[in-house]
């Protein structure tokens, strides 16, 4: 809440809070749906409908520009409540989280795998240096800051990271929410591994990804929340450093190497 002063009087926006309450009531009444996809399950959770309905309402007269602007700082407060809840789940299971420490730390490097997969495809599709900004990370706020700082606002790299940022903002939670339930049910990997992977460094994406896991494996709820919460904290605190010292240099090298090879033919 750095701009606490700019955010005064938001509680008075009754129109916004009433709309959110109405969305909560409707989406929780609809409840969770499980859709079988082959051997796997896609979970449709109330929070995903809530996101969709929120976006749709923005284009109706019910939501004015003012509500949309006011909603943004309230997300931070909501995420704070969520993190407090995750904290009190981690507390009692701290020994288990510490036992999973090595996996917790090393899976952060899994974020680098994406460069090996997405960068070649981006180049193959004809992207130029935009590809560097897009594929070096999942492009959350710290990554946007890093790229803007290093290459500048109007640079191709800057356009790339902004595209990733917009995609993640609008679609990230839904995408990871649907993906995690499906992957955890069709692949032989443990739900706990996916719980660790859910902490990508964004509160809403983690909530959606781990939420699907909880809905699919209710018996493992405590462990899933504890591991994904701890992993998300680690991603938040280490993500920028991994980007600066490993991910971005690696992406640059790989890009240089791949484009040189291409020109050689």
């Amino acid at each position: 809440m750095q701009d606490g002063n700019a955010a005064m009087g938001l509680w008075k926006d009754w129109r916004l809070h009433a709309i959110v309450l109405a969305i909560v009531i409707v989406t929780e009444l609809i409840g969770t749906f499980r859709i079988k996809v082959g051997p796997g399950v896609v979970l449709l959770l109330p929070m995903l409908y809530a996101l969709g309905i929120g976006i749709i309402l923005y284009f109706t007269p019910a939501v004015k520009e003012r509500q949309s602007v006011n909603a943004e700082p309230i997300i931070v407060l909501g995420v704070s409540l969520l993190l407090a809840k995750i904290g009190v789940i981690i507390g009692p299971s701290l020994p288990e989280v510490i036992a999973a420490g090595p996996a917790l730390l090393l899976q952060e490097l899994g974020h680098l795998v994406t460069i090996l997969i997405a960068l070649p495809v981006a180049i193959w599709l004809g992207m130029k240096r935009e590809a560097i900004g897009m594929t070096h990370s999942i492009g959350r706020e710290p990554n946007v800051g890093l790229i803007m700082d290093k290459y500048g606002m109007g640079s191709p790299e800057g356009r790339g990271v902004m595209a990733m940022y917009i995609f993640g903002t609008v679609f990230g939670a839904v995408f990871l929410g649907l993906l995690s339930g499906l992957l955890a049910t069709i692949t032989p990997l443990s739900p706990l591994s996916f719980a660790l992977a859910s902490g990508v460094g964004s509160g809403s994406m983690m909530a959606a990804a781990s939420g699907s896991l909880i809905a699919a494996f209710p018996d493992l709820e405590t462990q899933i929340v504890a591991l994904s919460g701890a992993s998300n904290l680690l991603s938040l605190s280490s993500g920028l450093w991994v980007s600066i010292f490993i991910a971005l240099p690696l992406t640059e090298k790989l890009y240089g190497w791949m484009t040189r090879k291409k020109e050689g033919y």
Partner: protein, 150 residues
């Protein structure tokens, strides 16, 4: 500072009320039973915000909130059993619904930027997400198996 605290409390209570009603409809937990847990969560958030204001370190409030949450629920902390018992009544998924409702309303403004992204961007961005998620999961799986945890 006092005015800030008032603003935070009011907003947390508003989000909390939406959460309690979702908790009731979606998870059959009567709001009164979940009220003590929600009050504790709001208290933890408030403590985190206040610490961030008091302590002159560039440390985000969400880090304080997470740490306080972990500490007050550890078995040696006095009253932690009550903290855990009460907050268990507040379902995690019931908290996420109002957050994403606010997020959706805020995201509406980014929608026009989103639809301008080309199909190439959509493919690459999807791969970035899948790669990050699956990459982390595979590494976690290898280590957890190696440690014998799963």
């Amino acid at each position: 500072m006092l005015k800030n605290i008032q603003e935070w409390v009011l907003l947390l209570v508003i989000v909390g009320v939406s959460g309690l009603i979702g908790n009731w409809i979606g998870y059959d937990i009567f709001p009164l039973s979940a009220l003590p847990g929600m009050a504790i969560l709001i208290g933890i958030c408030l403590a985190g915000f206040i610490l961030k204001e008091i302590i002159p370190l560039n440390f985000p409030s969400i880090a304080y909130i997470s740490i306080i949450g972990v500490v007050v629920s550890m078995p040696w902390f006095p009253g932690s059993d009550k903290v855990v018992e009460w907050t268990t009544q507040v379902q995690l998924l019931a908290l996420t619904t109002p957050i994403l409702a606010y997020a959706g309303i805020a995201i509406g403004r980014s929608w026009s930027d989103f639809v301008k992204l080309g199909w190439r961007t959509l493919i690459v961005a999807s791969l970035v997400m899948i790669g990050t998620f699956l990459g982390s999961a595979v590494i976690a799986e290898i280590i957890l198996r190696f440690q014998g945890i799963i």
